[in-house]
């Protein structure tokens, strides 16, 4: 079979432009989530919102290796995955605010994001709920032929669910074109990894199943990208799944705008260390070293874009009570 590995998996030709694009994406995710955090604080956004602030390099790095027809699957903390895969910013805000113009019609809210056009087939808060689904999308892609792949985003807590291990085995057994991306932010809700397991080697979790794994600095967009691009290329070549453990840290609490103090988690010392590893500041430093000097102007443009998208979303319509019984069943098949 003639397999097209596609340019996205090759080293970027114009490193500066590529890096600028990643920096812009990370900053977009952060400013969008800060806007959501503000709406959580004022109770304008009432649904549970889980912010990925501090972890933006994982979404931005992995999705840079993907095409529109690849699919991604996520969890409760997936605003970043949605935006990085090309989801509409305005539809994200509309969804968080429950507007019918939201990406899930205002039904899903922050934890249920989708965009068929962009290959974002769904995010759900059931821990690791979409991991086997990603394997299923990869199974479908393999049946259809071609080079589409699937990516499952999940947290470190997901490894405590049995079906993640089942999925790793199935993916290896059927040589599925899937990349399992574990965002290890060290905490599952309020529990540190050391309170949940004795071994700190999630990158090896696939080994007994025949899934090669790699540990990556999850706060380095370039490192994430190059590891993801390798896994993606392997999947496109029909060589099966890869597991990435991206080490990172979420700055905010498990849910909402807080910094965890409210749920009795003392992470201040740890957080101070991780703030120094801010993925956006690190990429900005690289850009400045490469001779890019107009980051402030670009940041201002991103802030304006976020503010305008939010205002448009706010103006959109809320659903009425007559919608409660709609869409329990689909009238006709709709999907990919």
């Amino acid at each position: 079979m003639n397999i097209d590995i596609r340019s996205s998996c090759l080293p970027p030709e114009d490193a500066t432009a590529w890096l600028l694009e990643r920096w812009s994406m990370m900053l977009l995710i952060r400013r969008a989530e800060e806007a959501i955090a503000a709406m959580v604080e004022t109770a304008e956004a009432l649904c549970p919102c889980h912010l990925s602030i501090g972890q933006e390099a994982v979404a931005a790095g992995v999705c840079a290796a993907l095409t529109n027809s690849d699919t991604i699957w996520g969890g409760h903390r997936s605003h970043g995955h949605y935006l990085a895969k090309g989801g509409s910013l305005e539809m994200l805000f509309a969804e968080v605010l429950g507007r019918i113009s939201g990406c899930s019609g205002g039904r899903g809210r922050s934890m249920h994001l989708a965009s068929r056009e962009m290959g974002i087939l769904g995010t759900v808060p059931i821990v690791a709920g979409t991991v086997p689904l990603a394997a299923g999308a990869a199974f479908a892609a393999r049946m259809r032929g071609g080079t589409d792949i699937a990516v499952a985003f999940f947290g470190d807590g997901a490894f405590e669910e049995g079906h993640v291990h089942e999925s790793l085995n199935l993916a290896a057994l059927y040589r599925l074109p899937v990349v399992f991306v574990c965002e290890n932010n060290l905490y599952s809700s309020h529990l540190h990894w050391s309170e949940r397991r004795v071994a700190d080697r999630l990158d090896r979790a696939g080994e007994v199943h025949g899934v090669p794994g790699r540990r990556v600095d999850g706060n380095d967009a370039e490192a994430v990208y190059s590891a993801a691009a390798e896994g993606v290329a392997r999947a496109r070549r029909g060589e099966g799944p890869t597991l990435l453990e991206c080490r990172t840290f979420r700055w905010r609490g498990h849910v909402g705008a807080s910094w965890d103090a409210d749920v009795g988690v003392e992470r201040r010392g740890e957080l101070a260390e991780w703030l120094k590893l801010d993925p956006i500041a690190r990429t900005a430093g690289r850009l400045i070293a490469l001779g890019v000097h107009d980051l402030e102007g670009r940041e201002h443009a991103i802030m304006t874009r976020v503010g305008e998208a939010l205002e448009r979303a706010r103006a959109d319509e809320l659903p009425g009570p007559d919608r409660v019984l709609q869409h329990v069943w689909a009238e006709a098949a709709c999907g990919r």
Binding site: G129, A135, E166, S167, H327, G335
Partner: protein, 340 residues
């Protein structure tokens, strides 16, 4: 018309769907072995290849999740659970994921998935090899649940389940596999949610599903010998179920027995009886009788199994109770009228 067994009819629906639609594939445990699926999947792997007839590892949860994901990505999977008991390990992809997807994503993404579960009981297999768990899934919005009782329906409902844009739980019972009946050769589908009136009668309505629908026909023949004309309705689908057909019959007869191969508390028969009371209370001459399993796990000795599983005799007894009650009710009504 040709005669096929119930198991052969299931096999034929699979074979025709696989031949017609390249998006259809089957995944689950035991697909390459007659031990698990009887003759209901016989030789499909040789006919369509093991890439599309995928005998899976013992991972109910991830295999079912894989089928959900493949459906979302455009395939038409049939995920096979040779014992419904074991399917509980896949409750998350069925209940949390497949059932909710259309609603959660505002009707923009559907899950065209068939989940096939086999009830395989009796034979001293005990409580983890015997369960009929249809009511648990009937409870969940977003799922459709069908339970065919005849070879004709076994084929037609499977075709309908594959064509449906929603997750459909298709439940067949090994006790029905050897039953034979007329089955057209060409593919046909039976609308999900439509019951079949198997026999006309004016005195009492016997409502049932799966093995109990088959028992209802035998009970009706026995009741006829007592001079009672029973109308027999095979529900075929439990979610949605055919309220119109059932209620029209109860309005005519004024009496009903609902027979269910599952447990009593919060069971299918209880749900259907409650709906009949809601809609047709004033048409009833007697309380609705329910024939169900007792609220106990399946036993594992022959003697206890005979006491545990209801059949024709229990349905006849329930029908006679309903008829007796209706006589005393009409007598009370008459004496009330004469007193006035």
């Amino acid at each position: 018309m040709r005669t096929l067994s119930y198991a052969q009819a299931i096999r034929e629906a699979h074979a025709q769907a696989l031949a017609r639609d390249p998006r259809v594939f089957v995944i689950g445990q035991g697909l390459w072995s007659p031990w698990y699926a009887g003759s209901s999947l016989d030789g499909l792997d040789r006919e369509f290849g093991r890439e599309r007839i995928v005998d899976s590892p013992v991972s109910e949860n991830a295999v079912t999740g894989l089928a959900v994901g493949a459906a979302l990505a455009g395939m038409r999977p049939i995920v096979f659970h040779p014992r419904m008991d074991f399917m509980l390990l896949a409750a998350d992809p069925i209940v949390n994921q497949a059932a909710n997807w259309s609603y959660l994503f505002g009707g923009m993404i559907s899950v065209p998935l068939v989940i096939r579960a086999v009830i395989n009981r009796g034979g001293e297999q005990g409580s983890q090899h015997s369960q009929a768990l249809h009511a648990m899934f009937m409870h969940v919005p977003g799922l459709k649940v069908v339970m065919p009782a005849t070879p004709y329906d076994a084929k037609g409902l499977l075709v309908a389940a594959i064509e449906d844009p929603n997750p459909v739980l298709y439940i067949d019972d090994r006790w029905l596999y050897a039953q034979t009946g007329d089955v057209p050769e060409q593919a046909y589908s039976i609308p999900i949610g439509s019951a079949a009136v198997r026999r006309q009668g004016r005195d009492i309505t016997l409502i049932g599903v799966s093995t109990m629908a088959a028992n209802n026909l035998k009970a009706a023949a026995a009741l006829e010998r007592e001079g009672i004309q029973a109308e027999v309705i095979d529900l075929r689908s439990l979610k949605p179920w055919d309220r119109e057909t059932v209620c029209a019959s109860v309005r005519k007869t004024g009496r009903a027995v609902v027979s269910d191969p599952g447990w009593r508390t919060a069971g299918a028969a209880s749900a259907i009886a409650a709906e009949i009371y809601d809609g047709e209370f004033h048409a009833l001459y007697a309380p609705i009788e329910r024939v169900t399993l007792p609220d106990a796990p399946a036993p594992s000795s022959r003697v206890e199994e005979l006491a545990y599983y209801p059949g024709e005799r229990e349905i006849v007894e329930a029908a006679l109770r309903a008829m007796g009650a209706s006589r005393s009710v009409s007598m009370r009504a008459r004496s009330a009228r004469s007193a006035a």
